[in-house]
Structure formats: C-alpha cells, structure tokens
Symmetry: C2
Subunit: 335 residues, 2 copies
C-alpha cells in the first residue's frame, strides 16, 4: 500500500476550497478552489462540495486516511453539523460530515467552524507548532477566534467559546453587527476600519479619498495603502485600531495566559503597521504586574489557513481512528 493522504474541505461563503496532502507532507498534492455561488442556492453548493470531494477521493494516489471540514458558521463539532451560517442561511443544519461519509465509507470525518479549524491549522502547520495553549484570532470582515488546548479547540457550552470579536473594548462604542456596542469587531475588523475611515474622510483632508476614487469606495485596504504613503488621517486611524486591538489582546491574555497568540485574516496584511503598537500597549498593561507577554504574531500561512486547518482535522480524524498510515506531525494534537 502506498502512502496515506489527508483531505481538507473549507466551506466558505464565497469560496469552496479542497486540499489533498500526503500524511507527512506540508505541501498540497492537489488544491482546488471554486466559487460558492450562494446565489444559486444551498443545494447547488452542497452538490459542488460533494462532486469535488468525490473527484479528489478518486484521484488520490493512495488511501485517504481522514477528512476534515472547516465550515464558515456555527458548528456543533460533536454532532459534526453546521448549525447556522450567518451569511448563507440555506446551509443551516446540513449534516455535512454525514454526507461526506456517505461518499467515503470508513474514512473518518471531523468538522469545526473555520476559526477553530484555522487555529488547529496553526498548531499543526503554522506558528502554533509545539505550543500547548494557542489563541488564534482571524481579523477580516468580522473577527473570529479559537482557543486551542493540546490541539483541541475549546468548544464552550454552546459551541461559542473564543468569540473574541464580541468582547467589549469600548463601552458605549460604535454599534456592532451583533446588535451590541463597542465590541472588538466594531472597531478592529476590516469592515469597521473601512467604516471609520469613510466617516472621518467626510471631515478631514486625506489622500484616501483620491486613492479610492471617492469616499464611498474607501476600504480597510485604502487606509493601509494611505498610511504607508504617510497620510496623517490613515495613520491616526490605524493607531486607534492598534490601541483597540491591544486592549482586546491584553484581555484575552489575562483570561487565558496562552503560550502564543496568532493573528490571521486579511487585516493582518497590515500586521507591520498594527502589531507593534498593539504589542506595546499589551506590554504596558501586563508587565507592571510581572506577567510575561507571550509572542503575538501574524500567521505565516495566510489565505489558506482554514483549509490547512481542515487538513489538520483530517489528520486528527485519522489518528483518532488509529490509522497507522498517517504520521502527520500532529504536535500536541492529543485527544
């Protein structure tokens, strides 16, 4: 028998990604990305997931030892069901893992929400390697999080642990998508950075307006570009964002005392601008009482981290299933 393979599936609202990786490899044997095309409905999207899975299973050059699914929504990891996907309601309560198992009888399947999967991906393939207690934040349109202990994401009672995006950093702050106010997400997400910049650009001169071709087109990316070119307003906004990120980081570190905090998501393309001042704030808060500040680092895996997380889950499924073919270096991935 040839070497074993792991199959990862990342079910997002805009794209579906599939990756086939040799058990001991850290490079894709095959990777596919197709658009989710929500507008065509949930059934079509599910069909796409199943078709691509079927094809990858058929083309794998060896036995597939495990399958992992990262899902962009709330997940019951024990029952392996996506409970709800805020941006794609049709995918609610679809027993995705069971559907995949029907295609691949005997191959174990694990499923987590995409932030938890990404956190596991960091532990197995990214900057979390060798660390037992890892906090992961993904900062993109929204903010998700994961607390990974010995490779296992903390689920919480309702499957809602590590919702770092909805911790309050500014009481009486701006309204958040969640319906409350002052959440980390309402001040630090990509969407929020864009909103803050558009509000301020109405009142102040800034090169952002020109760069974006109008105030309404300013996004977080515009802010980042303008800040790099020395725009005062853009720099001021990112300083505030960094401070609020620092408050959020100080709070999760006080709560968990982790080995390392890893930050991913699109906003981390500006990690060089945001992390140094955020870390400075965290140091100022923690060191007076003798707490060592853990490493706070941008993810090295970037776009594919949820997919790598799904692959790591596949490895975990294989290990749980005592598949001897699978020797992937599951650092700390115990249970």
């Amino acid at each position: 028998m040839g070497k074993g393979y792991l199959l990862g599936i990342d079910i997002g609202n805009t794209k579906l990604a599939f990756g086939l990786v040799g058990c001991n490899e850290r490079r894709f044997h095959e990777k596919r990305v197709v658009p989710t095309e929500r507008e065509l409905g949930a059934e079509q999207a599910i069909e796409k997931v199943l078709d691509n899975t079927r094809e990858l299973l058929a083309t794998a050059p060896g036995e597939v030892a495990g399958i992992g699914i990262a899902f962009g929504g709330f997940v019951d990891a024990t029952r392996r069901i996506g409970l709800s996907s805020p941006n794609f309601p049709g995918l609610d309560n679809v027993p995705m893992a069971a559907l995949i198992e029907d295609l691949a009888p005997g191959i174990p399947v694990l499923m987590e929400n995409d932030a938890n999967a990404a956190g596991v991906g960091e532990v197995v393939y990214g900057k979390g390697r060798g660390h037992r207690q890892v906090l992961y934040l993904t900062i993109s349109t929204g903010i998700g999080g994961a607390a990974i202990f010995d490779g296992v994401p903390l689920a919480g009672t309702q499957g809602l642990a590590a919702e770092f995006g909805h911790m309050i950093v500014a009481p009486n702050g701006p309204g958040c998508t969640c319906g409350s106010r002052g959440c980390l997400e309402s001040l630090v997400s990509g969407t929020s950075i864009g909103r803050i910049a558009r509000e301020r650009a109405e009142l102040h001169d800034t090169m952002m307006t020109g760069l974006a071709g109008g105030i309404d087109n300013i996004t977080a990316k515009t802010v980042s570009i303008a800040a790099r070119q020395g725009d005062g307003l853009a720099r001021e906004i990112l300083e505030e964002v960094a401070l609020n990120l620092g408050i959020g980081l100080a709070n999760i570190i006080a709560a968990f005392d982790p080995d390392i905090v890893i930050l991913g998501g699109g906003v981390m393309n500006s990690a060089d601008l945001l992390l140094p001042p955020a870390i400075e704030f965290v140091k100022g808060h923690l060191t007076p009482r003798g707490v060592k500040v853990p490493p706070i680092e941008a993810s090295s895996v970037h776009d594919d981290i949820a997919l790598w997380g799904a692959i790591a889950l596949a490895g975990k499924a294989a290990v749980n299933h005592s598949s001897s073919c699978c020797l992937v270096d599951l650092v700390g991935v115990g249970r």
Copy 2:
C-alpha cells in the same frame, strides 16, 4: 479500617484555616481558624501550618486519604510551590506541599492558588456541581478568578490564567494596584468601591459620611448599607459598579462560553444589589447575537469556599492516588 478523611488547608494572608471532612461528607468533622500573624514572620506562620496539620492528622478518627492546600498567592500547581504571595513576601518559594508530605508520608498532597481552589470547591461542594465548564470570580479586596474544566483549573502558561481582575473594562479608567489602568479590579473590587465612594463623598451629600463616622472611614460595606437605606449617591455608585461588573462578565462569557459563572468574595454580600443589573447588561450584550446567557450566581458557600476548595483538592489527590476509601462526590473531577 474506618472511613477515610480529607484534610484541607487554606493559607491566607490574614488567617490560616484547616478543615477535616469525612470523604463522603459535606460538613466539617473539625475546623480550625488561626490568625496568620504576618508580623511575626514567615517561619512562624509556616510552623503554625505544620503544627495544626500535625495535630489534625493525629486526631483524625480514620485514615487521611488526601491533603489539599489553597495558597493566597501565585502557585506553581505542578511543582506545588507557592511562587509569590504579594501581601506576604516571606512565603515566596516555600515548598509547602513537600513540608506537609514530610509530616504525612504516603498521603498525597495537591496545591492551588486560593481562587483556583475556591473554583474547584464550587465544582465539588457548591453551585458548580454537575457543571463541566465553570468560571469563578472572587470579588473582595482584589479580584481573582478561575476557569475550571472538568474539575481542573486552567493554569495557563505562567500559572496566570483566569486573571479576570486585570481584564480592562474602562480604557483610561482609574489606576489599578497592578500598575495599569481601567482593570475590572480597579472599579469593582471592595477596595475600589470604597475608594470611589470616598472620592464622591467629598463632592456630594450622602448619608455614608455619617454612617462611617467620617469620609475617610467609608468602605464598600458603608456603600452597601447606605444604598439599602436609599442613599442616592450610594445607589449611583453601585449602579456603576454593576455596569462595570456586567462588562467584565460579558467579556469572560464571550471568551469561554461557560456552563455557569459563580461569584464569591465579600462584595457578594451585596449580590442582591449588584447582580441583577449586571446580568441585565450581560443579557443586553449577548442575546442580540443569539447567545444564551449562562446562570450567573453568587456562591452559596461564602467565607469558607477556599477551604472547601482545599478539601476538594484533597479528594482529588486521593482519587489520583486511587485511594478506594475516598468516595467523595467529585463531580467531573476527572484527570
């Protein structure tokens, strides 16, 4: 052989408490409390701990199956050493568990900081029974916390997890004992409530001044008494305290998604005044995004909870040691 006993030792800065409890009992067979008398120095205090332990071991009517220690300071639970006791420097790095083991060869000993011990006490003897994921906050002169998963306190990398008192609830808020600003402790601890009340009493009419016999004598207790008698300023202060407590609770619930949050410590003598508005705030923050608010309750054990926690640790030590005599109902106390 008669029934087994558990010995708990609570080493605090002001008092040393000892409790002997039958393995399946929930009442003290014997309880002793003696003053720590810090002014006499660490050696004297250690001698007192050892003397009382020796006496209780000698008078136990049956085999002592385990000993637990709650320590008022930072603890390395793995090495079972109190690393530092902020208010009693002489007790730093004393190998307390080893000293106790010398007195009682063969009896297993476990040690935790007092907040973690109290949290374990809640899980075994208090409101945390039957719950797998319990957050515990103690609000007295300072604020301590514990996150207990399956009966095991989350330690964190530096033994500093669950430091809920130093999560920020008011950026740019008042200075905290830790050297930073705006921590939960700086706004909600008993010490802080007293400080806030004294500051405000300088500026406003309040019955607190008379009740305490002068502004300088106002404490958190004065605020509570005055609020119950309808004093406007006292009520206003407690409303603010409750709001800040609510922010802290909302944040730890977002981080952990626990089964239950239990609050102990002297300030919880005003639980009837503080918890309803705090819970109201938490509901307002969490329910818009569909999160169920977990039970948030005042401890039922009050003053003795750290000692009961030490006794629960003794039970855990006995179970780990596979003592068959010990059948204490260690709900969820797994590992």
